[in-house]
């Protein structure tokens, strides 16, 4: 039986960040109860056969806002409908301000072994600019507490390419966090239409500046023992996020919660991005989906490249696919950008940073489907 990967979207935040475009609303106890009831309903619907749970990921939103009772209820539902092992990778995203020794111990107790901390920056001014509710002290305490509580894997999220941010700020954050973390995600700030940042007309630094920052980050993370294994992700040896690797390997993933996007190996779906409508659909016994698409072979091929080429290991390809891609790359003048592996292809490490440009060039050069 195929191992199971599950993603849960927790749609609550205390005070939303200016750059975030995830679906979320204000956190209230009554809403949390409604959410948990709906979620357990969706677990029943979607996890019909008791499969071995490989990874479970709670993202958001701010999952760490959930009460202990809610966690108990959710986990008991999962234990009923899937087999959870000690090897199962169970991640929750947490805001540094909500991480206490007690909370960490509780999470560890119910089976959470990986926590991803939304540090973003260790510069107070930048945190204010991002509208984060925590301080840099909160963040450093948080990763230390998690580390000391015996979490298998502690991740810190950082953001760079913020207007006014100095490269030194990011480098310094890596240095200060690295003793306590096993995994690092460093994301370039992206202005998504519809977010407060977009409305305020925030403009990003010059792309050369961003390229410089990125190079420095890759180098400094490596020096701290955190190797890049995907465009924005770095880890100690063996501490890669299995949940995310599964996505980049084009693996299936059951997604639960409002606005969550799932994939069964051929069909992609997206849940309703409206909390109440989502809950209502489940209450009436319907799948709470708003979008569904079946990938045709060409879409699937390019999706696999789009995802797989982000990673150090590259994309798995059949011999035919490999030959086809080699021909396309040659005609696009990109033959020297790829490396051919035994069962696939990957981008040369220094070319990963140009992935989007490479992908579009390949697609233009590809014969018409």
């Amino acid at each position: 039986m195929q191992p199971l990967h599950v993603y849960v979207h927790v749609p609550f935040c205390v005070d939303p960040c200016g750059y975030c475009d995830f679906y979320r609303g204000p956190h209230r106890m009554d809403r949390e109860k409604t959410f948990v009831r709906a979620l357990t309903g969706e677990i029943k619907m979607r996890l019909s056969e008791r499969k071995r749970l490989d990874t479970l990921y709670f993202g958001g939103g701010t999952p760490s806002l959930l009460s202990d009772e809610s966690w108990m209820e959710i986990f008991s539902a999962f234990r009923q409908h899937a087999e959870i092992f000690t090897e199962s990778e169970i991640t929750i995203e947490a805001n540094p301000a909500s991480i206490t020794v007690a909370a960490a111990k509780f999470w560890r107790g119910i089976g959470v072994n990986r926590v991803s901390v939304g540090v973003q920056s260790l510069n107070g001014d930048i945190l204010l600019y991002l509208n984060r509710i925590h301080t840099s002290e909160n963040a450093l305490d948080a990763v230390r507490i998690l580390n000391e509580t015996g979490m298998d894997n502690v991740n810190a999220d950082l953001i760079y390419s913020i207007p006014g941010q100095r490269t030194m700020d990011v480098i310094d954050a890596i240095d200060r966090l690295s003793p306590w973390i096993d995994h690092l995600s460093a994301y370039a700030l992206t202005i998504v239409p519809g977010t407060p940042f977009a409305r305020r007309g925030v403009t990003l630094p010059d792309s050369d500046v961003v390229a410089d920052q990125y190079e420095r980050i890759v180098d400094r993370a490596a020096a701290a023992g955190l190797e890049r294994y995907e465009v924005s992700n770095f880890s100690r040896h063996g501490a890669e996020s299995r949940h995310n690797l599964n996505t980049w390997r084009y693996g299936a993933c059951v997604a639960l919660g409002p606005s969550a996007a799932g994939f069964d190996g051929s069909r992609r779906y997206k849940n309703i991005a409206d909390f109440l409508k989502y809950a209502k659909a489940i209450q009436s016994g319907e799948l709470p989906e708003s979008e569904s698409e079946e990938a045709d072979p060409s879409t699937a091929f390019w999706d696999r490249l789009m995802l797989g080429l982000r990673t150090r290991e590259g994309v798995r390809l059949s011999p035919d696919e490999r030959a086809g891609l080699a021909a396309i790359a040659d005609s696009a003048g990109l033959g020297d950008h790829l490396e051919w592996t035994e069962n696939g292809a990957r981008l040369k490490p220094d070319k990963i940073v140009l992935l989007d440009e490479i992908l579009t060039r390949l697609r233009v050069a590809a014969p018409c489907r």
Binding site: S207, A260, E291, W302, D303, L307, G333, L354, T360
Partner: protein, 627 residues
């Protein structure tokens, strides 16, 4: 209204600088003579197209037959022939003038004599017309009547019968009508030249296309008589046909049995296209082999070429139909299909001048709803190429774009079209205007003071220097006070260079252009800078080089792209991300590959001086052209 018979005839036109009130005066005359009842009077009745009314420019000449009862009781047949009001149409103006004996020369009392006042006056005098000067807008407080009179005298206009009028209020128009039947002579008869008296000679001074009758030729009969069912011949074109209809403009078209000597009207004779019926040609009886064209005939040739593209590619067919329709009524417009790497299918069009070009593209967008891109305006150069045999006589080639230029070593000489430009400008702006003319490779021919406030400059100028932004510059440095007119002056040798653009060493044919040696560095620099600004950063450095006659004289570098990757790509991002890449792919597909360099459409537009013609003619581009 019967035909002339024994009613005395006066054929006349009104000439003026743009906006000096020609059309308004024509309206008043139509009203006073009862040709158009006051309640039916639209402003500027004789300007038939909206675009003419809005821009205050008469594009298509029209004619009107009026009946006028003088104070002493005698009745006259007046034929008012309207004339196009812009430099580009000076040949057509001259043919309209040739159909008249008299011209009312209108001068705006608040503006005084302007460039086209002079050029129209000179044309009228050349055609032997009696000229009746009229000062218009005398009702305005700013009117400077005596200054205008002085200026007219300075020009050599006979002011003994000068009248003051207000076309707007109608004041003085009765006196004008009374005066013109007195001073304008009756229709003249050309010398017979040994031909039988009374044989038909009719001048074609304009034409129009009608869906039912084909081409309607507007004629002035000089001798003989023109009837329906006559077998006639276009003398210059050598085309014979049978007259199907003759008529007059009352001012609406009205069929008559015949047009007599001295009369003005229209003829239909089964002509299918305007290209058969040249303005200036002469209509004679088919059997009259001694007939010659009346003096002044010439074929009109495009002076400026430009490429027109539909801004939406799929509008090509629509545009083709539209251009062909425009051509039906505009014999001066030439069209031929063209394909551009950047802009797709379009047309290379020949125009009489810049205004003509603007009017055509505006009519495309206005009447047919097609937005057009106007690219690469160019004059027609001539190049003499070496013969294979030494000492042979070189062959002249017409060159309308850089790509038509023969290889450098084959060219003996290149000649460019020159114009004689006449510029009227306030005295205090003479310095900057002369500097501008100097920059545009002008050679001063004459400089005269019309009066202490106004200077007339006559320059020999390169036409190529005028077709880009000359009017706009002239207007801006004189705050709108200068006026400008020109006439072709033939060809003269010029040191023209071929500018070529190279992207990473590869020549881009569509980006090359012909420039004068004095400006090659300046243009090369600006071109390379503008290209570098629109070419997106790519995965490698792109060298943008510009060569003049094969030697690199400008270079810019587009630095290599260093980072382009989406920061986050998790389960929820896949669909959106895929769509984004799809969009980028479509964007890339629209780019032209020059070697491995992706060149966006904008780059071609930059090099082609493309202007997107908006449907707003009051915009800044057209404002400079009205005077």
């Amino acid at each position: 209204m019967g035909s002339g018979g024994d009613t005395p005839i006066r054929n006349f036109c009104i000439i003026a600088h743009v906006d000096h009130g020609k059309s308004t005066l024509a309206d008043r005359i139509l009203e006073k003579t009862g040709a158009v009842p006051k309640e039916k009077m639209r402003d500027q009745f004789m300007d038939q197209l909206d675009i003419e009314r809005e821009r205050g420019i008469t594009i298509k000449a029209a004619a009107a037959r009026l009946r006028y009862r003088a104070k002493d009781g005698s009745v006259f047949q007046l034929n008012l022939i309207d004339t196009p009001g812009h430099v580009d149409f000076s040949y057509e103006v001259s043919r309209s003038l040739a159909a008249c004996e008299g011209a009312v020369l209108v001068v705006d009392a608040t503006q005084g004599v302007e460039a086209q006042t002079v050029s129209n006056f000179l044309l009228a005098r050349e055609n032997g017309l009696t000229i009746l000067p009229v000062i218009n807008k005398c009702d305005l407080a700013q009117a400077e009547t005596s200054r205008c009179v002085k200026q007219l005298k300075e020009l050599g206009v006979d002011t003994s019968h000068l009248l003051n009028v207000s076309a707007k209020t109608g004041a003085g128009v009765d006196e004008l009508l009374e005066m013109l039947v007195r001073v304008f002579p009756p229709p003249r008869v050309p010398a017979s030249g040994g031909r039988a008296a009374g044989s038909l000679q009719a001048l074609l001074f304009d034409s129009n296309y009608d869906n039912f009758r084909g081409v309607l030729a507007y004629v002035r009969v000089f001798s003989g008589r023109l009837r329906a069912h006559d077998r006639v011949r276009l003398v210059a074109a050598g085309i014979e046909s049978v007259v199907t209809e003759v008529g007059v403009f009352a001012p609406a078209q009205q069929k008559v049995e015949a047009l007599e000597a001295g009369e003005v009207g229209y003829v239909a004779a089964g002509w299918k296209t305007l290209s058969e019926v040249d303005v200036g040609d002469t209509l004679a009886q088919a059997g009259d082999l001694t007939a010659r064209t009346l003096p002044g005939y010439r074929r009109i040739m495009p002076m400026v070429y430009a490429s027109l593209f539909a801004s939406e590619g799929e509008n090509y067919d629509q545009m083709k139909v539209a251009l062909e329709k425009l051509q039906l009524n505009d014999s001066a417009l030439t069209i031929e299909p063209e394909v551009s790497d950047a802009l797709g299918f379009g047309f290379k069009c020949g125009f009489l001048g810049l205004l003509h070009m603007e009017i055509v593209s505006e009519r495309l967008s206005r009447e047919l709803g097609i937005e057009t891109l106007v690219a690469s305006p160019s004059v027609v150069y001539r190049a003499r190429v070496r013969t294979a045999t030494p000492g042979g006589v070189g062959e002249w080639l017409e060159v309308r774009s850089a790509s038509e230029l023969p290889p450098r070593d084959k060219i003996e000489v290149i000649e460019e079209p020159r114009i004689r430009a006449m510029i009227f400008t306030p005295t205090e702006t003479v310095g900057p205007v002369m500097q501008l003319l100097d920059d545009r490779r002008g050679v001063m021919l004459e400089m005269n003071y019309l009066d202490p406030q106004k200077v007339i400059l006559k320059y020999d100028l390169a036409l190529s220097e005028v077709i880009t932004d000359f009017y706009d510059r002239l207007k801006s440095i004189t705050r709108g006070y200068a006026s400008f007119d020109y006439e072709p002056l033939g060809y003269a040798p010029a040191d023209m260079r071929k500018l070529e653009v190279l992207l990473n060493g590869k020549e881009v044919d569509a980006l090359s252009m012909i420039v004068h040696k004095d400006s090659d560095y300046r243009i090369a620099k600006s071109l390379s800078e503008r290209l570098a600004a629109v070419i997106p950063r790519q995965m490698f450095e792109v060298a943008v080089q510009v060569a003049s006659n094969g030697r690199i004289i400008a270079r810019e570098t587009v630095r290599a792209l260093r980072k382009n990757v989406t920061a986050k790509c998790y389960g929820g991002d896949i669909t959106r991300k895929r769509k984004l890449l799809e969009k980028q792919k479509e964007g890339k597909k629209r780019m032209k590959m020059i070697g491995t360099v992706e060149v966006p459409k904008e780059a071609f537009l930059v090099a082609m001086n493309v202007s997107e013609v908006s449907s707003n003619p009051a915009g800044s581009r057209s404002s400079g052209r009205k005077n």
